[in-house]
């Protein structure tokens, strides 16, 4: 695999970056996410998670099926703040919205 191959296009994480993270001691997808930043951009891992998981599996010699996906974060896709602001019913920020 070319070392400069970009696996996470949002955060420019390369195959080499993943191999380096594993060599530094990060073995799980949660840790590799934090060390490389993969999956923290606009796609939130929807494009890159499988490619990175395969690269981590190769670098760790672990079966890819033993790797757990990182915790998915809301919202499902990037959403303008004004859409969420319109949901708020209370006039004061900080007031609990869940009844």
């Amino acid at each position: 695999m070319p070392r400069k191959l970009i696996l996470c296009r949002c955060e420019d994480v390369t195959a080499d970056d993943v191999a380096h993270a594993v060599a530094t001691g990060f073995q799980s997808l949660e840790e590799v996410k934090r060390y490389t930043g993969f999956g923290t951009g606009p796609c939130q891992g929807k494009e890159c998670l499988v490619a990175i998981a395969l690269a981590v599996a190769r670098a760790t010699s672990l079966p890819v099926t033993s790797l757990r996906a990182f915790t998915a974060r809301a919202p499902l896709s990037p959403t303008e703040l004004k859409q969420f602001a319109a949901l708020a019913e209370e006039p004061e920020p900080g007031a609990a919205l869940s009844k």
Partner: protein, 395 residues
Amino acid sequence: MTSPPKRLAGVQGPLPASAELVIVGGGVMGLALAYNLAVRGQKNVVVLEGSYLASGASGRNGGGLRQQWSTEMNIRLMQESLEICGAFARDMGINVWMRQGGYLFLMRTAETRAQIERNIALQNRCDVPTRLITTDEARRIVPELAADRFLAASYNPTDAVVFPWPFLWGYAGAASRCGARIYTDTAVTALERRGPDYVVTTGRGSVTAPRVVNAAGAWSPRVAALLGLTLPDWPARHEILSTEPLKPFLGPMVSVLESGLYVSQSTRGELVGGITMHEPKTNEIKLGSRLSFLGAMAQGLVEVMPLLGEVKVVRQWAGPYDLTSDGNPIVGEAPGWPGFFLCCGFMGHGFMMAPVVAKYYALHLLGLETHPLFERWRLSRFAEGGTEAEGMIIG
């Protein structure tokens, strides 16, 4: 050939049978303490982390470093913490993306202003250059502010933000190079006193040590309960969000004192921030994300800076604050449990305090020097009733 990378993560494997000191919790407090002990020559330090590094509150916070506190001890501690953070990249060889853009606190009421004026006088006596400024001056610092919605602001240009994760790897890597051993995925399942020692049992075996430090943050009451010791701190979910990256435009961390809203721009360009969400007191650690937080935070942000309505939220997450009834932490040896030390209850502000607290904690454990924080933040104060409350707890 380049040299192999330094190991920055913890290790997994069987535990040693014994240690001089076991630290429960591989968050910033436990790792910074391990480093501060090991670098001063303490042998056989073992850190036990139940999950991975940065899995708890240390990996979930907003990375703020401020000196705008309401008690002199906290102001002075944070001055020193900021100095340590400023040298961290050089000393530890890892970039922590520190940016000294200041903190701008907005306030709505005269009551808040009166309290903030008292705080500023105290901060100025400690040589922190905080100023009470008008909303017009605030708008010169952040032109996007809807400043007419506020009464005044307090501004200290020397407060800062950092990227939290590299702090953990920096401390973990440096502690390991000094001989400390850091175990991840190694949750403590039992704690037992045996003669002068404690037997700490995990899924990877047991380790016996004469001294144990409970630095488990929001999990610290559970760790203490394994011994039969009841701690008065409790966990509270705090939610946070991150937006798409924007061109750098926001100098300071901006916070609204009455709502607990805070937002800063990271060096990656994202806006990162949270807001107080009132929740019933519970002993459960809840880390789920809620739509109601997005609503409250979005409304608060758009009120402070209306043009942010067009900015997209990319993700939200939550971390646990570790709260106490007087806004102060819990440190020192637990009465009745010789050798069992507490380092918890940091009120959601442990990340910024860890660099300096860990230094004084190490000096205390090594018998080299003690600090007034061990008197002020002792566990027995809750029964005796007598520590000045800290008023500047945000979020």
